[in-house]
Symmetry: C2
Subunit: 460 residues, 2 copies
Amino acid sequence: MTFQKEGLEELIERMESYLNEKKYVLAREAIVELEPIDIAYIMETLPEDTIPVVFRLLPKELAAEVFVELENDSQEKLIKGFSKAELKEVIDELYLDDAVDIIEEMPANVVKRILSTADPETRRDINNILQYPEDSTGSIMTTEYIDLKSTMTVEDALKKIRRVGQDMETINVMYVVDADRHLLGFVSIRTVLLSDENDTMEEIMDTGVISASTLDDQEMTARKFEKYDFLTMPVVDKENRLVGIVTIDDALDVLVEETTEDIERMAAISPSYKPYLNTSVIETVKSRIPWLLLLMVSATFTGQIISSFEDALASVTILTAYIPMLMDTGGNSGSQASVTIIRGISLDEISMKDIGKVVWKEMRVAVIVGAILAACNFAKLMLVDRLLFHNPITVAVALVICLTLVFTVFAAKLVGCTLPIFAKGLGFDPAVMASPFITTIVDAISLLIYFEFATTLLHI
Amino acid sequence: MTFQKEGLEELIERMESYLNEKKYVLAREAIVELEPIDIAYIMETLPEDTIPVVFRLLPKELAAEVFVELENDSQEKLIKGFSKAELKEVIDELYLDDAVDIIEEMPANVVKRILSTADPETRRDINNILQYPEDSTGSIMTTEYIDLKSTMTVEDALKKIRRVGQDMETINVMYVVDADRHLLGFVSIRTVLLSDENDTMEEIMDTGVISASTLDDQEMTARKFEKYDFLTMPVVDKENRLVGIVTIDDALDVLVEETTEDIERMAAISPSYKPYLNTSVIETVKSRIPWLLLLMVSATFTGQIISSFEDALASVTILTAYIPMLMDTGGNSGSQASVTIIRGISLDEISMKDIGKVVWKEMRVAVIVGAILAACNFAKLMLVDRLLFHNPITVAVALVICLTLVFTVFAAKLVGCTLPIFAKGLGFDPAVMASPFITTIVDAISLLIYFEFATTLLHI
């Protein structure tokens, strides 16, 4: 069954009446077959004080899965209300990487409580993962994978899978290591099932294994999943020893998060990592105001340029009317180039060494685009603005406007395509170089070109 | 091993000399352990006439995997050069959904050739998938999955898995159907391996299965993968009969493609679906020029507004200098709101019913942001522009500019947050409503507000 939100809302009403009438068996039956994220949504929508009640109705394993999907403040409240035994039960059922994610979001006293109830081995693993820098591959890996010694036979391997498989995040692919835990290769469960019982892992493994290093940037690792269509990827330390795996669901979350970050940066917003409706007004203001202030102040330059050409504008007043069009067209041309390049860099399609190719291409695009825009604009100026609206447009004025258009588009495309690549080369996030900054720079350039042509061609 | 592009480039040189010296065994050994996409990259980088040579060095199964990763024109050339037997071998080795993807990109005569060599069953399956509309879930599904009858025992199931598993895209999750192929539930390979030999599928299956329908939009289906962390999802027809599965690698490709499309639309570019460096100059021009023309023409309004207030501008010339700042700040404020909302809609966090919440939030954000910007700008106008740059700014002029700022930000946020939601409600792509369009609308609004305040407060 697919649940549309409408279906869920009916169910929520039903749940509410079950809970009011204390019909807990019915309440349990109504949700126990649903996906964890849908149960979490239902719990968050029900009155707040019913969260612990519903949570305790769920079977142990499902309860842990639902716990992962709850919002942080609901998790925190639940943890605070748990008995020590209850907390231990939930923590033991969690996959290690989920436990780490939750711990990273909790206040210090809650973290202490969680760590004190976890068994020593789990605690060690959690602390181990917590020490990796944020955004590193180590911080998103899990240590719950199956590793097989290269000397094991298929029979041994199947025994081990049956024994420990239940607690592991995946058994689709298992990694083969030597006695010192160096990564040698991988075998899929399919290969194991289809091989002879006496074959060793060394004989059946695939040695072309691509791994990530604990300190690799998490986005780089996630992009490898996209490129290679992996479901899991092994993580190794500096000595090529296997220390964990990353699973595709976490890689997918990283990709979505990093893309949202890129999009926000391109729109001059500081990334927030929270759904829009869950962010407070103050948080939203904070993420937006610094950029607006910066861009507002940098518009001082354009203002100064206009001020210094005041006399020219006063003598041919119609010129002022075309400032917005020239600025907007410049800004749009520039951001078309910058956004395309920034996305290309994100998707690993464009790197520093392609700068020559990119510039050459954008120059040709700019010439064609500029020429078409100028021609259309010339026709529009002479036919619409002059004949229809009776604006005082001479051929010379039209020429000034159209020549400015050509040069502005050229400059805008050039600035738009090079700035993101330079930013990347210097180690900055190219997305920050997108539309708003480029607009400000292109505004200034287009005004300077405009007034240069005006003073030369109109002799003012 | 992880191959950085540097490592690959050395390898390519080595390959080139092997091929020149006809050392085919060494050439084969140098690449046979690599990932298919890396082999494809090497082949595309080597001289064009070596592609068929290298291709024929690869083992059959790997060759098919590499084939999928090649660019369309290389695929086409290979297919045209294949003998009938060779073509059949490649097509038989391909996963069905990959075969369909390739066929969708090939010219008609090549498609005919492929279909005529495929065996009747494959041909029927391919034609079946080809009939689903582009962008539908049916068009990205594969029919190579394992379905198990509900009455089968674990022993029967394992036998079937061993028998047909080799040709299937995944055996991680298998779907349980009744005699009429209605979807009942799923079992994971893990559950099968850990269950008793005599248990039936009906006893061990999980019935909480979430499926997609063949005609569902592919992006909607892909978002479900992200939400539920699935690796595969069953696809059913109108009668809930199982007809195929979608795998996460295809879902991930859909997500990346749709996000790129969103980003391009937001920057006023028509989506191209091709990597930047593979697009010709003319294609790039075509994807950019229509929007630039449209936005250029729509700037006529702003021009007309300025023209009609020419006298006011002539009497207080300093007002002109602040037009760019007001327009840019309005545009940036508006696109901050619109981009946030568009991303929220894409991620399914915001829908039509949230419009009240969104507007109320943006109004409060706008008031705070507007007040801060106005205060900072007032200080800057009086201290920097007036005292430092000696611009003729009176308190009244500063007031006009700052009041305009407050109202412009308010209007921009309101337009920015509502337009995308309305667009979505009307069935348009909200991304088209992003920055450039909103900028044009906000430009006009901000100029009208500016001149209204100017004429009223400065009595001109």
